[in-house]
Amino acid sequence: MRALLTSKWTKAAVFLLCLVPLDALIWRALHNGLGANPVEFIQLTTGRWTLRFLIITLCITPFRKLLNLPDLIRFRRMFGLFAFFYVCLHFLTYLGPDQSFDLAAMWKDVAKRPFITVGFLGFLLLVPLAMTSTAGWIRRLGGKRWQMLHRAIYFAAVAGVIHYYWKVKSDVRMPLFYGALVAVLLLWRLWGWLSRRRSVVAAKLSSEGARAGAAR
């Protein structure tokens, strides 16, 4: 398993796999398969794949620990960058066909419509993460600070789910499904954080108790 995960061929294969949603869109575009409203179809597809890649990225840490597969870390940056790639396509279909590349009109729309506002915020949050995804930036920022910054993905995922939930008219099953996945992944982290804190506090208390005992 280890050999499979660390092979450069696996990484190349996963990379190509991540491009399949884009390939499917291009294939459909060339074969008249985007339906009556191609712009909307591309928007929905790229939006959903953004959410999926965010969720896959958030799965890496729990899977590493629960499945005892630390080498999964090799794929985390790639998944995160694919989430960013698809959100860029998603944003471009909004800026172009929807807003005719009119930035002033776009800002008005972003400010006026809550579901656009929250989607746009999620997109903005991902920009610095994509920019600082290189090894050089990890060094420059230092591991701790880099990790703090990249926790912004939690908020980006939540923003994505809210954006989707507010977008649908009345059938909220799909947004709720994605929301549930994000909730599980974030609660797992919260639970880990709480139990780590508890053990730190317990360790502190016991060491204080020991010192008090020694002083007596």
């Binding site: 339906g35 009556a36 409203n37 191609p38 066909p97 929807d98 419509r113 008219k169 009345s170 059938d171």
Partner: protein
């Protein structure tokens, strides 16, 4: 005033499209029962289940309407595969898939309430009510997309005159068919069924208001609201109720489905209005299906000459 001439053929007599497109199957069926002397209609009933026989019938000798636009029509494929018909699923492609076996035979439309002559209409009676016209209308959805469709039908006021509303009748309430067994996805739609809509009586009387039985020269496909629906071209698409079964004339303003669901988003009037902002979609522009960039939306969807006077003195921002 048009001179009414009742067509001699009934709805069931028109050759179903599925039959003339599938002559082999038809001939095979003919071979099986060929020896038996049955009428042509009886043969159709034997060869095919009734809902298929009613699927698509050709209409001939349609009257051209002065209300038609000369704009480019959308393709039949677009109009039949991009539908909001939440009883059959909430994805645009769902109704085309899930309404295939929708049974619309023996359809009855009940007209009741504040009328001198309440009655129930069969589809045959509706088709004989007035000469069928082809009307090419712009159709604007509240979701900021639009299409151009050659509908078939006649002004709804032909039916109104027949049932003679009493002076108490101020509004018309409409109700769609709903059968959870035939529409199992309806329970996930997030809105209440049966779908209900309404118009003020003068809106219902407006000659643009169409009682629609077909499109593109044929009867309505199931996913587009078979066998009979309303088309109100100056209002957002959700006002044009599909698969109509009940029409009630009444004194009170009737409840409407989307208004019940999200009152501050969908009003009773729901006239197409680029100046009234919607919390979800900017209504200033729309995407005509088949185009990439959006085009400006017209006041009353471009039908202001025919309808604007009905709203004189009304604050359309308040009465959205």
């Amino acid at each position: 005033m048009l001179i009414r001439k009742a067509p001699d053929l009934t709805y069931a007599d028109v050759t179903p499209k599925s039959v003339y497109l599938d002559r082999r199957k038809f001939l095979r069926a003919m071979g099986i029962v060929g020896a038996t002397a049955v009428t042509a209609k009886g043969l159709f009933d034997l060869a095919l289940p009734p809902q298929v026989a009613f699927a698509a019938t050709k209409f001939t000798s349609l009257v051209n309407s002065p209300f038609s636009t000369s704009e480019k029509q959308n393709s039949y494929d677009d109009v039949t595969h991009y539908n909001n018909f939440y009883e059959f699923g909430t994805d645009k492609g769902d109704p085309a898939k899930n309404a295939k076996n929708f049974n619309t035979s023996n359809w009855i439309v009940s007209v009741e309430g504040e009328v001198a002559k309440p009655r129930k209409f069969t589809m045959d009676e509706i088709l004989k009510l007035a000469p069928l016209e082809e009307r090419i209308y712009r159709h604007r959805c509240v979701e900021a997309w639009s299409i151009v469709v050659p509908w078939i039908g006649f002004s709804f006021n032909s039916l109104i005159r027949l049932v003679e509303p009493t002076p108490k009748a101020q509004f018309v309430a409409f109700q769609s068919y709903y059968d959870p067994r035939q529409m199992p996805l309806g329970r996930w739609a997030g809105i209440e069924f049966p779908y209900v809509e309404g118009l003020r009586l003068d809106e219902a009387m407006n000659p643009l208001t169409l009682l629609c039985v077909g499109m593109y020269g044929e009867s309505l496909p199931n996913q587009d609201g078979a066998p009979v629906r309303m088309v109100i071209p100056w209002k957002y698409g959700f006002k044009s109720i599909k698969s109509l079964v009940k029409i009630k004339f009444q004194q009170k303003m009737p409840p409407t489905t989307w208004n019940l669901s999200v009152p501050n988003w969908y009003g009773f009037y729901s006239n197409v209005n680029p100046n009234v902002n919607h919390p979800r979609w900017s209504q200033a522009k729309e995407r005509r299906l088949g185009e990439i960039f959006k085009r400006p939306t017209l006041m009353f969807n471009g039908y202001d000459d025919q309808v604007a006077s009905m709203y004189n003195g009304m604050d359309l921002k308040k009465n959205y």
